[in-house]
């Protein structure tokens, strides 16, 4: 494993920005995770990242993340070893050691948690994740989509409580039991799940997403430093498309089945003067409409940035009157297959009438895979 690379203190600001952009409005704010990573590094721990192809085929890899409500995450911050205890509990249940951790979702706060835990455990974190973005439910990971079971999985809270979930009938049950349990644990817990072989991770993980978040964030920071357009930098980096610049002229949010559901309405300005935009939200940004026509939908990424700074705006801090840029970024090809679209396509989010039309992407064809 000599092809490992390290994440340093100076990389964390960029990863924070990149991960928040890939969070498409959800996934929780990575700020607290960034501070925690920084402390770990100051205490002499090291964050080592292993490229996917460097994994041994028989390596044991575990998917890791914090689950709970983002607003609880900024109030009852963690004891600090929740995820580590979850990993150890899973090792106890399996009777063997975990070789590497992988993030369940790179978008938002769960970009940082596996890096932290890997540093604590003294094992590497895989350069990749299960979504390449953020999604609201755990079975929306590529490992679940392509048939791997999430069980056994282990949940740990700050008090030392551990819950093992196994022998579930299907993936939906894992989500159901985990949700009920996280509420009992005070709406914040660490979860280690889906123990996988390295060979399987190579097949289904979204690749190089730590590297992607880092260099995406760096491109925004560089644009800010050079006084060039940070939005253009994001578009160039991700092979994305500017959907609209405009102002939020109305905002609706309400609860449906435990999710934050709502819409924002945008009045275009600049090159988009006269256009009316709408974004539908379910924790993340799901669907973008222009003048009442669906234009972009999940699983492609809809990203909202502050029009001047290029910094991402999450659904919780959306406000009437904000001046925003709406971007579409292509999702990974692994999310565009018929199997994946069943789980993360528009129909899975209550839009049976919408057909997912993948936005063109040179990145998927030439680059990553």
């Amino acid at each position: 494993m000599d092809k490992l690379f390290e994440v340093f203190d100076t990389d964390l600001d960029a990863i924070e920005i990149g991960a928040a952009i890939l969070g498409t409005g959800g996934g929780g704010n990575p700020y607290i995770g960034k501070l925690r990573c920084r402390l770990q590094l100051q205490q002499g721990r090291r964050i080592k990242v292993i490229p996917i192809d460097e994994l041994r085929d028989d390596a044991l890899v575990v998917s890791l993340g914090g689950i709970g409500a983002p607003v609880v995450g900024v109030e009852k911050i963690e004891q600090g070893e929740e995820c580590l205890r979850a990993v150890h509990a899973l090792e106890d249940d399996l009777g063997c050691k975990v070789d590497a951790l992988i993030s369940s979702e790179i978008g938002g706060a769960n970009s940082m948690e596996p890096m932290l835990t890997a540093a604590q455990a003294g094992i590497p974190v895989v350069d990749g994740d299960g979504m390449g973005r953020a999604f609201p439910e755990m079975q929306m990971c590529t490992w679940s989509i392509y048939g791997h079971r999430s069980t056994p999985s282990a949940m740990a809270d700050e008090k030392g409580n551990i819950v093992i979930i196994k022998n579930t009938r299907n993936e939906v049950w894992v989500e159901t039991l985990a949700r009920a349990n996280v509420v009992a644990m005070g709406a914040a817990a660490g979860i280690a799940m889906a123990p996988m072989k390295g060979s399987y991770v190579k097949k289904v993980a979204i690749r190089s997403t730590i590297t992607q978040a880092l260099s995406l964030g760096n491109s925004v920071l560089k644009a800010q430093r050079d006084n060039t357009d940070p939005i253009a930098a994001v578009l160039a980096h991700e092979d994305g498309r500017l959907l609209m610049t405009g102002k939020i002229i109305d905002l609706e949010r309400h609860l449906k089945g435990g999710f934050a559901v709502g819409h924002i309405f945008i009045q275009g300005f600049g090159d988009f003067s006269g256009d009316k935009g709408q974004i539908d939200i379910q924790n993340e940004f799901l669907v973008f409409h222009r003048n009442n026509q669906v234009e972009i939908c999940v699983p492609d990424l809809i990203v909202v940035l502050d029009v001047d700074t290029g910094l991402p705006i999450t659904t919780e801090v959306l406000r009437y009157g904000q001046r925003i840029a709406v971007l579409a970024l292509p999702c990974d090809d692994l999310l565009r297959t018929p199997e994946a679209l069943k789980v993360v396509g528009p129909a899975a989010f209550g839009y049976p009438e919408v057909t997912f039309t993948p936005m063109p992407s040179s990145k998927n064809k030439e680059g990553k895979r």
């Binding site: 607003v71 900024v74 109030e75 709406a187 801090v317 009157g321």
Partner: protein
């Protein structure tokens, strides 16, 4: 009866005197390093100008940047003990973890973490530990610290742990002053705790300053109550600001926007406040400044106060201009030295004010030196200045409606008659809009917590929040029949079944009497 509004700025201390809705006079004095003599000076001036008797003044409202500046400059801050009630949760990031080193040092950087805190739904994370808290109090005492900031997890939802912990620690620290985070901040423990620590560290300065304000008033024969304005344009009593000085942060731009609204009668507008060195642009929505949506740094410390959304550019009356190609405007300014360095006052530096004077837009000082540049060149410079103003205004604009631009501040002669397609209104007393904003401050009450909507409806929860906020406003001195909702917002909490929703609601009312 009369009211006096005072704005203590970095350069000038302004005062206005008002009778009901009528402004009788407005004056400017230089801000002094002791602050107080500038206040006394402007009070004397404004009373003399109007002949109003001291005994007929019913209230004095003061806007001040004194406490913000103390934090920014790291001066007059007290050593503070930060105590977080959270264990076993929240120990991964200690208090002040993201503070710049110099301000951490200025407040001592001492912290403790103890048992306590609540879950989102009100359950205890752990119970308070009497023995542990007593031991912490003894350690604080041994360090000679008598200022404590207490912050408990989810205290905006349930503040009882902070109150009980204070009672326990007070037994060992009877003379210490305590700041409870639940009384000043919202959800988001790091930001709320930061605000509580900054507040605690400012308590001694605020006792001193508020006392000095009182003495200043007394020395000019005023015995009426006095208030200090907070960042949302509402007032705090002298006693309240002694306890919560941190709430004065960013009150300056708020006062200028509220003052501009009052002077023009406009409720929805862009406000451009041009000073000597910089221009602040904000937006008025229903008569109040639009708040910033992201967290706001004060002196490098992250807070979650409701600060007005202000965009500042380096353009003011004293901004230095290079008239040769390529023309440059600022960012440096001669500032208060314009009276010596500006061409119009016999100096040798071309300033933005010179350009306005040279073009005959304003009539101050001597226009001749600027005129030598030729009207064509002056016009080119002026159009560049106009462009900066238009861009700043456009940035803050919330809709395509042609809302007016309100031009205030001493340097507002620089603002053209129209800003883009927006008409410009320059009110009387534009130069003392801040002091007017202070004079018209209102009393508020706020609620921010999570409601569970399993047994009550959203409407019932909003009604409960409204009643609580109203009660708080009345307790703070608002006229009950004048109270109205200023802002309400409910954010459903993702992932939590049981329909948990976070409601923020704020009411305001006119000051009693």
């Amino acid at each position: 009866m009369y009211r006096i509004g005072i704005d203590v700025g970095g350069t000038n201390t302004d005062a206005v005197i008002m009778q009901g809705d009528k402004i009788l006079a407005g004056v400017k004095s230089a801000t002094t390093s002791d602050v107080m003599s500038g206040v006394v000076d402007s009070l004397k001036k404004v009373l003399a100008e109007t002949g109003v008797k001291n005994s007929t003044v019913s209230a004095v409202m003061i806007g001040t940047t004194h406490f913000t500046n103390a934090v920014v400059e790291r001066r007059s801050l007290s050593l503070t003990a930060a105590v977080r009630l959270c264990l076993p949760a929240a120990q991964c990031l200690p208090p002040m973890v993201d503070w710049p080193d110099d301000i951490k040092q200025a407040v001592g950087g001492h912290y403790w973490m103890a048992d306590g805190g609540n879950e989102f739904d009100g359950r205890e994370i752990s119970s308070l530990n009497d023995i542990q808290l007593t031991k912490i109090a003894d350690e604080i005492d041994a360090l000679g610290i008598d200022t404590v900031a207490l912050c408990s997890v989810f205290s905006p939802v349930n503040d009882s742990m902070e109150k009980e912990a204070m009672a326990i620690m007070k037994k060992r620290l009877p003379k210490a002053n305590f700041t409870l985070s639940s009384e000043i901040g919202r959800l988001g423990i790091l930001e709320r705790e930061n605000a509580a620590i900054m507040n605690a560290s400012l308590r001694k300065l605020s006792s001193h300053t508020v006392g000095a304000f009182g003495k200043a008033l007394k020395s000019v024969g005023l015995s009426c109550p006095y208030y200090v304005t907070q960042n949302d344009g509402t007032l705090m009593s002298a006693k309240f600001v002694q306890e919560y000085p941190v709430l004065t942060f960013a009150s300056g731009p708020t006062n200028s926007m509220r003052g501009a609204s009052f002077l023009t009668g406009e409720k929805n507008a862009i406000v451009i406040d041009v000073g000597g060195t910089s221009t602040d642009v904000g937006a008025l929505v229903n008569g109040f400044p639009r708040p910033a949506s992201t967290s706001v740094d004060v002196g490098g410390v992250r807070t979650n106060f409701r600060m007005p959304d202000v965009y500042s550019i380096a353009l003011g009356g004293g901004t230095i201009i290079n008239p040769e190609d390529p023309i440059s405007i600022g960012p440096r300014s001669v500032g208060y030295r314009i009276h010596e360095d500006g061409l119009l006052f016999g100096g040798d530096i071309l300033t933005a004010t010179d350009v306005a004077v040279g073009l005959g837009i304003a009539d101050i000082g001597d226009p001749e030196p600027a005129k030598k540049l030729g009207s064509e060149r002056l016009q080119i410079i002026k159009s560049k200045i106009d462009e900066m103003i238009v861009n700043a205004a456009e940035r803050m604009r919330v809709s395509s409606d042609r809302i007016p631009v309100l031009a205030v501040g001493g340097g507002s002669i620089l603002i053209p008659d129209t800003v883009g397609d927006l008409p410009v209104v320059k009110p009387n007393y534009f130069a003392v809009a801040n002091a007017v904003g202070a004079a018209i401050g209102q009393i508020s009450g706020e609620v921010d917590r999570i409601f569970s909507l399993t047994s009550i409806s959203r409407e019932e929860a909003l009604e409960t929040a409204r009643k609580e906020a109203t009660k708080k406003a009345i307790a703070a001195g608002a006229k009950p029949d004048s109270i109205e909702i200023l802002d309400q917002e409910d954010v459903p909490l993702a992932y939590l079944p049981g329909n948990a929703t976070r409601i923020r609601l704020k009411v305001v009312g006119d000051l009693n009497g």
